[in-house]
């Protein structure tokens, strides 16, 4: 009885403190949060027509697309964004031959040591090297980019909510703001920032990079802005999770095994319990 009485008293005291000092003052000053004015410009993420080949439980890499995406990264993104967790040898996984990987690596310069003098030099990369950093350090990167640090892209599609669609949309999200809304909200894009309807705070430090015909594809694919964005997004989805397709394919094998074993387990459960179960009336 003592414990229950004490419990009731403690319960009422806790609730009383919560209601009188937190809930009531909060309720009296109740104010729904005001959305910042840039919310008016936000748009839903978009996806390419037909989606991406690697999506869904049966998805597969489109290696031609990954190779196109790699060339976009090399020609456009790599001047500001690093890809530090990916090595050149990994490119074999997207369909380059060993010789092609060797040649591709050699077309990049990475920091090294001159074996004759011991001085720091730039040397052609080996397949075992990782993609080089575009700037010597973070301070240099910020100085070159209006004090914004261009994030590493190796994990970008996993490091943003709905990352694959986010990256695809962001590349295509540079639009002219609706003048009526601008007048209504008084929203401004300061110099050095760029209006993008998919960026969380709308004003993005990266200017538009992807335009129709920006690159030419050796395989004859038409380089529209949508195509380029889809290709580089697919490539970045691969760099974020190179084992994605292996994962899904393994999953089907595991699932098949488990379904079979669980069916057996169910039958043995029914057999063991036969005769023990009640006769329902």
């Amino acid at each position: 009885m003592t414990i229950r009485l004490a419990g009731i008293i403690v319960g009422l005291v806790i609730t009383g403190i919560l209601v009188l000092w937190s809930l009531l003052p909060g309720a009296l000053n109740y104010s729904a949060p005001e959305k910042p004015d840039y919310y008016a410009f936000k748009e839903e993420l978009i996806e390419p027509a037909g989606g991406f080949s690697f999506e869904g439980p049966l998805g597969k890499w489109d290696t031609a697309q990954l190779q196109r995406g790699y060339s976009v990264y090399k020609q456009v993104c790599s001047s500001c964004h690093s890809l530090q967790y990916v090595a050149f040898r990994n490119l074999q996984e997207i369909g380059f031959s060993e010789a092609e990987v060797r040649a591709e690596a050699a077309s990049w310069q990475v920091p090294g040591i001159d074996p004759q003098t011991g001085e720091s030099i730039m040397r052609p990369a080996e397949p075992t090297d990782h993609f080089p950093m575009p700037y010597p350090n973070k301070t240099a990167a910020r100085l070159a980019n209006n004090n914004a640090y261009p994030p590493d892209l190796s994990l970008i599609t996993k490091a943003r909510p709905d990352g694959v669609h986010y990256v695809y949309s962001l590349n295509l999200g540079y639009k002219e703001p609706d003048p009526e809304l601008v007048e209504k909200t008084g929203f401004e894009t300061p110099t050095g920032l760029y209006f993008n309807v998919y960026f969380p705070s709308i004003n993005l430090a990266m200017p538009q990079q992807i335009y129709d015909g920006l690159v030419t594809y050796p395989d004859g694919t038409e380089p529209t802005a949508e195509q380029i964005s889809a290709d580089v997004t697919a490539f970045l989805a691969w760099t974020a999770e190179p084992k994605m397709i292996q994962r899904k394919q393994t999953g089907w094998v595991v699932l098949g095994f488990l379904l079979f074993m669980t069916a057996l387990a169910f039958l043995s459960y029914k057999q063991v319990w036969a005769g023990m179960k009640p006769k329902k009336k």
Partner: protein, 456 residues
Amino acid sequence: MSFAWAKQYEPKSAFTKWIDEKLPVPRLVYNAVGAGYPVPRNLNYMWNFGVLAGFCLMLQIITGVVLAMQYESDTGVAFASVEHIMRNVNWGWMLRYAHANGASFFFIVIYLHIFRGLYYSSYKAPREMIWLLGVVIFLLMMATAFMGYVLPWGQMSFWGAKVITGLFGAIPLIGEPLQVWLVGGYAPNDATLSRFFSLHFLLPFVIAGVVILHIWALHIPGSSNPTGVEVKQESDTVPFHPYYTAKDGFGLGVFLILFTLFVFFLPNVLGHPDNYIEANPLSTPAHIVPEWYFLPFYAILRAFTGDLALFGVTLVPAKLLGVIAMFGSILVWFFLPWLDKSPVRSGSYRPLFKKFFWFGLVPCMILLTICGGSPAEEPWVILSQIATAYYFLHFLVILPIVSQIEVPKPLPFSITEAVLGSDDKPGSMEGGGDKPGKVVKPLPGSDPDGSLAPAE
């Protein structure tokens, strides 16, 4: 420690006889999870989760030990070492996804196990010790999971660690020095990561030790059951093996299928994208949220928004109130066996209790989870305050009063009657009714009819 009709282990070969004399491990297994452990025959699927929780613990220990062979607990390379596991270690991605989702599934299983206990009052005499040890296991699990989430050294790892270790700073007088001592600095740093790794490796084995005590304590009165009526006679029970090994085998299969769907097809949905960004002490994420299984307690922590002040003098700051309430919300479970004094165990025979359980406690926990994951703004603040108030009222006020005033439904005479209908009316069958044959000695604290005697 078992019922009189429990089967006895009989070693057959010369070798098992030799073992049985020297170190009777086969006998222990036989009595613990073999044919030597009689279990109520009417357990439903909610009784699968004990075995599943044990499976999860083993899964976490095995995957964790292997991951630890590749992981580096140095803030400079911790994040990169996790990426190394994901990209270069053979099947490393599978181990890591199994370990990360394994933690989530461990908590799903343990929450179902706890709520089974709450609904069927498994905490009541003679099983109080099992419940108390279970709450200890849950607290150890929370500490282990929290420290494990810090190890990848992503943004949520760092900021989550900062928020949670900051709670100790709310303790009056000793708070700040205590916090600096625990963290090894003023903010999470290399020393913090190393000690968290060390403890994250140690605690699962402590949990395993308490699990042994938990199971030991369970085998003294034996398992409870959905009617809450104690075992009276041999026809009320079946041997654990093969009856419940078969049923648990099926349950494990279903569990593994669901687990597989997450590990191989949705490995990141239960995590937070920010944790794929390396920890950066200079950049605070927009919303710091813990893992989903801590959200109800995080909501309780944040529900206290106002200092307890009288005439302009602050007696207890809001932060300390929140910390007390958050720890109190679990500590209150330690007192449940004595707060709920209804002589009936099973919620199925308690109409009023049942209403408060399904329409009070369960929606309250769901609401707390949603509020914990939402930003600290209206209407979530006020909803979390209402849910927190209900949470404490439920356990501390409603349960004691309900157990006093409620008129329970009539209980079945025995488990056998509950299963077979009227077949077990006294005298109708051998080994049951009024010819029970080998009747079990009533357990301390229970009436001969199996229900609990009121304490006062």
